[in-house]
């Protein structure tokens, strides 16, 4: 019997992980490219993701809870399905790199007085390996706990930041065209496009009452919180927002509560650092999932180990060159992100119902 992932677990995955990869270095990137209109590319990305959620819903309805891999096999044949899943494995691996580097920067900058000499971040890869090895069901369970951790940490940081923010800095809202918004959205796809996960939960997903509504809300609410975080960040730092590289640890620092009580925002930052490790594990877990579909469940250990070692290698050799890696991935991988993130899921809508029943 297939291991089933429940609606609540999918919701927990979105709540626990959706905000985390987007609030480290991405806000300063958005501020640099779009200034006070940094919310505009976010709206574009939100709308695209909502369309993607809708697409997944239609695929689910049309193919009666078959997995995406099974759908591709039945409609387009096994070699085609394998090719697509290899592409997705590369896609998810590429999506892991930048957020992982940013988590490293976040932890080293926030929790260490001076740059740590010892490789303190690398044990996190053991957790990534473990989650990749255990698969989606375990991941869902982990996220049920992590969702509370993220919610508490993230909301605390936002509430500390809101009183110090001057939201007038976001004006004018619509005057002056912002041509860089679509380009910024395109080059920041490495952080976004989380709705794609749902496509890989098909087949191991157990629909319950009002599942679609719950999933939709669990996606929308954290995303709106991310938008609130971005506008608060810009409201606090205004024209110097682009120089605040690690946004998450900077948003709360002007809070009067911190001045009076001390840096208790570090509690929230510790909580978020914990959840963040799980967040950066998601793409690798999905990459493993894709390759396991092709090479079989027996090879799961090898696949997850190889992927983690590859990630470790990338981390050791390139993590000091974060900016170069970010530019490379955002520039050259953007077509892959668009293709895998928004176009290939449409393949799931193909094939007639009869064909599927017989095939």
């Amino acid at each position: 019997m297939k291991k089933q992932i429940k609606t609540g677990q999918i919701c927990a995955i979105f709540i626990a992980l959706l905000p985390l990869t987007k609030v480290v270095c991405a806000p300063s990137y958005f501020a640099k490219n779009c200034g006070e209109k940094l919310w505009q590319p976010l709206i574009i990305l939100l709308l695209l993701d909502l369309l993607l959620l809708l697409t997944c819903y239609f695929i689910y309805k049309k193919h009666d809870n078959k997995s995406f891999y099974e759908i591709l096999i039945s409609v387009y044949g096994k070699p085609f399905a394998n090719g697509i899943f290899i592409l997705y494995a590369i896609f998810f691996f590429a999506k892991t790199v930048v957020p992982l580097f940013e988590q490293k920067i976040f932890i080293e900058n926030t929790f260490y007085e001076t740059l740590p000499q010892a490789p303190v971040f690398y044990p996190a890869l053991i957790i990534i390996f473990y989650l990749a090895l255990k698969g989606l069901k375990t991941f869902g369970r982990t996220c049920q706990i992590a969702s509370f951790i993220t919610a508490i940490g993230f909301l605390l940081i936002i509430f500390l930041g809101i009183p110090s923010a001057d939201y007038e800095s976001l004006l004018p809202l619509f005057a002056f065209s912002n041509k860089s918004a679509p380009i910024c959205a395109l080059t920041a796809l490495t952080y976004f496009n989380d709705a794609i996960c749902l496509l890989f939960f098909l087949g191991s997903f157990k629909a319950e009452k009002k599942s679609e509504f719950k999933i939709f809300l669990s996606y929308l609410i954290p995303f709106l919180c991310v938008i609130l975080f971005y506008v608060t960040f810009y409201g606090i730092f205004d024209y110097v927002a682009l120089s605040r590289k690690v946004a998450i640890s900077e948003v709360g620092i002007f809070s009067v509560a911190l001045i009076n009580v001390g840096r208790f925002d570090h509690i929230a930052l510790f909580l978020l650092a914990l959840s963040s490790i799980i967040a950066v594990s998601l793409p690798i877990t999905l990459s493993t999932h894709c390759l396991v579909q092709i090479f079989g469940e027996n090879n799961r250990l090898t696949i997850s180990l190889v992927l983690t070692l590859m990630l470790f290698g990338v981390c050791v050799t390139l993590s000091a060159k974060y900016l170069m890696v970010f530019e490379f991935i955002s520039k050259y991988f953007a077509p892959l992100f668009v293709l895998c993130g928004y176009l290939l899921p449409l393949l799931g809508l193909g094939g007639s119902n009869n064909e599927l029943q017989t095939g």
Partner: protein
């Protein structure tokens, strides 16, 4: 099999926890680290000279003077100078606790924005550190002895950061605000201007209290002897504390320097600083003196401002930019000379004549500020920023010469507290 794997994972988890929680998070090694509490920047023959004041525990050496606690180095850049401190002295300069940056006026007269930019972008210093300019060498300010505190920068902090959100006597700014204002469409910034006041070297007993009658105007400061200013020291000026046998220094930060397009543009006097503060932030502690005539007599009243409500808006009417300034003040009487005891005096109520005089004084001060902004082309009312944010349709048409075209309407209302 699963049981064994579970045990392996528990061991791995314990290993992770041990490696994580036994780390000291690279906390600073106090023996090798100089905890810098203030930085002074002076002009050197080539580049800048940095003077970093170290925090030294008071009890360790009673004879320690501020001069002993200063590390300095020269280089072409700030980063280089800080590195030189480390290289030449062997101390690692730790800037996390540095709250004050003092820049000599000579440095300000040249291109100083790279210095601010360095402080903003480096992770070594917090962006909430206060910026200030001093008329004498920054190194001298830091090494001067003051009755306010055994560390001169702590004394400066008392003056600059005293009830930061309440008083109107000092117009303070930090690295982030300064740079943000400079990057805004208005391209302006300000820093408090620290003047050192040498006290006589005779031993004297000071009360140690900082009373609130701070904002008597300049002329009043002149007639009050320094030795007696200890009792009414505010206005960005402070004094207090101990018996002093050597010459010591007090600081006055009530004047402000303003910058436009990265260059020094103009300066605020103490009363202009006060007035600007009243128009830009909520004030809980401000004193103004008003002169007026009542019943054929000249009267001088010290007014305490309890609360201020302000609005500075830009409207475009028939293509003309109009700055609409509204200021409502809730105040009460503190002192009046010559005193004429009346029934309402016990309620600290200001007479209608005094209120009108105060309104007219503030009206005049605000008009002077706007004219200063126009004449010096320093947009400290953020008119261009307001144009961009609230009147974007007129932005390209008016942006270049808005200050010259600017008209203004001022409405000041003063009310008694009771």
């Amino acid at each position: 099999m699963n049981y064994k794997r579970g045990k392996v994972f528990i061991l791995l988890f314990i290993f992770c926890m041990v490696s994580f929680f036994t780390n000291d998070f690279e906390l600073i090694n106090i023996e090798k680290t100089a905890i810098i509490v203030a930085i002074g920047i002076d002009k050197a023959e080539e580049g800048v000279e940095i003077s970093a004041q170290i925090a030294i525990p008071q009890a360790t050496n009673q004879s320690t003077t501020n001069e002993d606690a200063i590390l300095s180095a020269k280089a072409k850049t700030i980063y280089g100078a800080l590195e030189n401190i480390s290289l030449q002295t062997g101390w690692y300069p730790k800037l996390t606790f540095c709250n004050v940056i003092i820049i000599n006026k000579e440095v300000i007269n040249q291109d100083f924005m790279p210095i601010i930019n360095y402080f903003l972008t480096t992770n070594r210093i917090q962006s909430s550190a206060v910026l200030s300019v001093c008329e004498q060498k920054a190194k001298e300010v830091l090494s001067s002895s003051t009755p306010l505190d055994y560390i001169s920068s702590f004394a400066l902090q008392k003056i600059l950061l005293r009830n930061i959100d309440r008083t109107s006597s000092v117009l303070i700014t930090n690295i982030q605000d300064f740079y943000s204002n400079m990057l805004s469409h208005s391209r302006f910034g300000y820093m408090p201007y620290i003047k050192s006041i040498q006290t006589d070297d005779k031993p004297k007993e000071n009360s140690g209290s900082n009373s609130q009658s701070s904002n008597y105007e300049n002329e009043q400061k002149e007639i009050v002897p320094l030795s007696s200013q200890s009792a009414n020291s505010g206005g960005g000026q402070g004094q207090g504390g101990n018996t002093q046998n050597e010459q010591s220094t007090l600081y006055d930060a009530s004047e402000t320097l303003l910058f436009s397009n990265n260059k020094l543009a103009c300066a605020f006097t103490s009363s202009q600083t006060n007035c600007y503060n009243l128009l830009t932030k909520p004030i809980k502690e401000c004193f103004l003196s008003v002169e007026y005539e009542a019943e054929g007599k000249k009267k001088n009243t010290l007014v305490s401002i309890i609360e201020n409500f302000y609005k500075v808006k830009l409207k475009i009417e028939n293509g003309i930019p109009i700055l609409k300034v509204e200021l409502k003040i809730i105040c009460e009487k503190e002192e009046e000379t010559p005193s004429s005891y009346q029934e309402e005096d016990k309620w600290s109520i200001l007479s209608n004549d005094a209120l009108k005089a105060l309104e007219s004084k503030l009206n005049e001060d605000i008009a002077t500020l706007i004219e200063l902004s126009k004449s010096s082309n320093c947009d400290f009312f953020m008119v261009k920023e307001k144009l961009y944010r609230f009147e974007p349709n007129h932005y390209y048409k008016l942006e270049k010469n808005i200050l010259q075209l600017l008209d203004y309407q001022i409405k000041v209302e003063c009310k008694n507290h009771h």
